[in-house]
């Protein structure tokens, strides 16, 4: 046991680590499956209680059927498409403006003192509060919804990127200057990569806020989209439809948050040596 050759020791350790990792993953997946299975079971039993008004408590199966019908008759698909289109447009505009603005705020003092303080102040306002103003300005149309999405996400993107730039170690900036980085190249080759972990956090936050603003706006101002399915479900007293829409909203949120941003953040943490 103690007399193994070095290479065999390494391969033994490697194998053990791999096995450990696999058991760990298996345990975590099993636990999750068990938990959610249990949750659905409780829901099922609860929905079948005699004392409850049935239309307020559909069974899991009924929700599943509604979900399937909505997808196969394309009504949910169109709603998802409408919402995602709004979201992407608004979010991209926020990124395109917010990112460079954040970089500038982090570097240029007078901009930070003016636009920076304004952003900080406006952030205290929940984005949906912009809706009345937007409707009065732009009318009941797509632009009004875009406006709410942008106001919801741009501030957190800008301010997080600004924090990222400010937290860059000054010695890195000095090193870049000494090595001949011009003003513009300092932005593209140093400020952006150095604050990339923050930029990503900002993008993620911005996404979350954009998503929430959109849902709030769609609930209030009905016209095609996931929010309007929620409203429609309420009006039709169709709880299965309401829950279906909620599940879709959770699914989309998780997909972007965990899968896309989670992966990017992990990648950067490894590369930057912070993990």
């Amino acid at each position: 046991m103690s007399n193994l050759e070095p290479s065999r020791v390494v391969s033994k350790v490697e194998k053990e680590r791999e096995n450990d990792l696999r058991t760990q993953r298996f345990k975590s997946v099993a636990l999750k499956l068990l938990f959610y299975g249990f949750l659905v079971l409780i829901w099922h039993l609860f929905a079948n209680l005699e004392t409850l008004k049935h239309f307020l408590f559909p069974t899991p199966l009924e929700v599943l059927v509604t979900l399937w019908n909505g997808i196969s008759d394309k009504s949910f698909v169109y709603a998802i498409y409408a919402s995602m289109k709004r979201l992407l447009i608004g979010y991209l505009i926020s990124l395109i403006i917010g990112l460079p603005l954040g970089l500038c705020l982090g570097r240029i003092k007078w901009m930070d003192e003016t636009i920076g303080s304004l952003s900080l102040g406006l952030q205290a306002l929940p984005s949906i509060c912009w809706l009345p103003l937007a409707i009065l300005w732009f009318g009941l149309n797509e632009i009004a919804i875009q406006f709410v999405i942008i106001m919801g996400s741009i501030l957190s993107i800008t301010l997080t990127v600004r924090d990222g730039v400010i937290s860059i170690s000054p010695i890195l900036l000095k090193a870049a200057q000494v090595l001949g980085a011009s003003k513009i190249k300092l932005y593209t080759h140093v400020l952006v990569p150095a604050s990339l972990p923050y930029i990503l956090t900002g993008a993620r936050l911005g996404w979350t806020f954009a998503w929430r603003s959109l849902m709030a706006a769609e609930l209030l101002y009905v016209s095609a989209g996931l929010g309007s399915i929620l409203t429609m479900g309420r009006e039709l007293h169709d709880m299965a439809m309401v829950i279906s829409a909620m599940l879709i909203i959770i699914g989309i949120g998780l997909f972007f948050d965990k899968l896309i941003f989670g992966y990017l953040e992990h990648f950067i943490a490894v590369r930057w040596g912070t993990k």
């Binding site: 170690s169 010695i171 890195l172 000095k174 090193a175 870049a176 200057q177 000494v178 090595l179 001949g180 980085a181 011009s182 190249k185 080759h189 140093v190 990569p193 150095a194 990339l196 590369r271 930057w272 040596g273």
Partner: protein, 257 residues
């Protein structure tokens, strides 16, 4: 021919603990091709001196000239190697070394070729693809050295670059640096705590005072090259300087008590 000229240079920091006169009426001429070493107690203003020459810090009074022109900001004719490695964590080793060349507009292949040659000098060829967080402290400092040398500057400003290295690597890099200096005739300003290192490398050694930012004394080192850090004559000279330095260090510790 003078390369760098400091005329009545003053630099004052207003810190939380009070006024620090980091450079106090410093007058100094550094000849073209000189290897100047600066020693002095911690906090005496050595890094400040280098920052001023690098153009990263403005002086509060006086003039700093390079080739008879005032220094207005950083320039790639004089590259500073910082006390900490200050490498870019988002770039790997070879990308770090090539950074300055890329900034100067060189193409990727060309700059990598030069970067590789320098990585050979600092004995890090095997690590060209490594990420910075995978290197030891000494390896990082060697990458920083290679990154500065890549730009082939006329003036090299080095702030205790070898402090974190083991004795063998340090000896080796002393040799490399001496050869580089003899071959290229660069002007080098080298800051160190290690008096023997200063005598090993410098053609002149300057001792700074502990608290008031002045030059206390300077020593011409006329020992033949190549030198070795264990040469008897070298050790004798180092002893003299160390005694003077000790006086200054004691001043600081008395103040602290």
């Amino acid at each position: 021919m003078p390369k760098i000229d400091l005329i009545n240079v003053n630099k004052i920091f207003l810190g939380k603990t009070g006024v620090v006169h980091a450079l106090n009426n410093v007058n100094l001429t550094i000849e073209d091709g000189e290897f100047l070493c600066i020693v002095g107690p911690s906090g005496c203003g050595k890094s400040t001196f280098l920052n001023v020459v690098a153009g990263l810090t403005n002086v509060d009074d006086g003039e700093v000239l390079i080739d008879d022109m005032p220094i207005k900001g950083p320039g790639t004719d004089r590259v500073l190697i910082f006390q900490e490695p200050a490498l870019f964590p988002w770039l790997n080793v070879i990308q770090n070394v090539a950074f300055g060349l890329r900034m100067a507009g060189l193409l990727k292949e060309e700059s990598y070729e030069r970067a590789r040659a320098l990585l050979r000098i600092v004995k890090l060829s095997k690590f060209e693809k490594s990420w910075i967080h995978e290197l030891s402290g000494g390896m990082k400092q060697r990458v920083a050295l290679a990154r500065a040398l890549a730009l082939d500057p006329n003036v090299l400003l080095m702030d205790e670059p070898f402090a974190a290295l083991d004795a063998q690597t340090r000896d080796m890099l002393h040799e490399e640096l001496e050869i580089l200096w003899l071959e290229t005739g660069k002007t080098i300003i080298f800051v160190t705590h290690n008096v023997r290192e200063a005598v090993r490398l410098g053609s002149r050694v300057i001792l700074m005072t502990a608290r008031d930012g002045k030059i206390k004394r300077e020593y011409k080192i006329d020992l033949p090259r190549p030198r070795h850090i264990e040469d008897n004559e070298l050790i004798d000279i180092a002893r003299i300087i160390r005694d003077d330095l000790k006086e200054e260090v004691l001043k600081v510790s008395e103040e602290v008590i």
